[in-house]
């Protein structure tokens, strides 16, 4: 079993839809949870960063962490074609290197 599981998709939604992306993990030591966005031929770009459980909102993006279920989510409201990219979840603890999910490829159609 992988330490971090993420459905690779692809996921296709119409413009304006709410997108829900999620990851599950097995290592209870993870405390820091990140979502990265990666456009084609580019490096990953940090979108959201949360510590421990809870919600964090930034514009159209909301990240949720449920440590009891070992489940994290990223919601994108009013999705735009420019949101089309691969979304990677990542997580770490102070003593561990970062572990990534496989990435979910999202397409938002106009």
């Amino acid at each position: 079993q992988k330490e971090v599981e993420q459905d690779p998709g692809p996921l296709s939604v119409p413009e304006g839809a709410i997108v829900s992306l999620n990851c599950t993990y097995s290592n209870s030591a993870f405390q820091y949870f990140m979502w990265y966005r990666q456009y084609s031929r580019k490096g990953p770009e940090l979108l959201m960063y949360t510590y421990s459980s809870g919600n964090k909102e930034d514009g159209r993006f909301t990240a949720q962490v449920d440590k009891s279920s070992k489940y994290i989510s990223l919601f994108i409201r009013d999705s735009q074609p420019s949101d089309s990219a691969t979304y990677l979840c990542a997580m770490t603890s102070y003593n561990n290197d970062m572990r990534f999910g496989a990435g979910t490829r999202l397409t938002v159609k106009p």
Partner: protein, 113 residues
């Protein structure tokens, strides 16, 4: 402020040859990381420098891979001799603090034929 840069952007080499990848982190970032993504797999950690010291190299696949960060500035990752399974995208990232935000470079796409 310049971001993380990597050179070359692409490299195509034959099995058995040597390739050296370079990463220039964001100025002032003591932490430098190397990652690799092989086709169809997730990004995997290779190693972590704090300044010029290797903090964690547990992700390095084997002794054909050698990373250096002389002077604590830029870093190189040498693969010698390259094998077919070394093909993939090699990312470098840097951060100010150990648990700080990691800023990724665009990656070097390596193809070993």
């Amino acid at each position: 402020e310049a971001g993380v840069t990597q050179f070359p952007s692409h490299s195509v080499i034959e099995k058995g040859q040597t390739v050296t990848l370079r990463c220039d982190p964001i100025s002032g970032h003591d932490n430098l990381y190397w990652y690799r993504r092989v086709m169809g797999k997730e990004i995997k950690f290779l190693l972590h420098f704090v300044k010029e010291s290797k903090q964690d190299e547990s992700g390095m696949p084997n002794n054909r891979f050698l990373a250096e960060r002389t002077g604590g500035t830029y870093s190189t990752l040498k693969v010698q001799p390259a094998e077919l399974e070394d093909s993939g995208v090699y990312f470098c990232a840097s951060s100010q603090d150990r648990i700080g935000t990691q800023y990724f470079g665009p990656g070097t796409r390596l193809l070993v034929l």
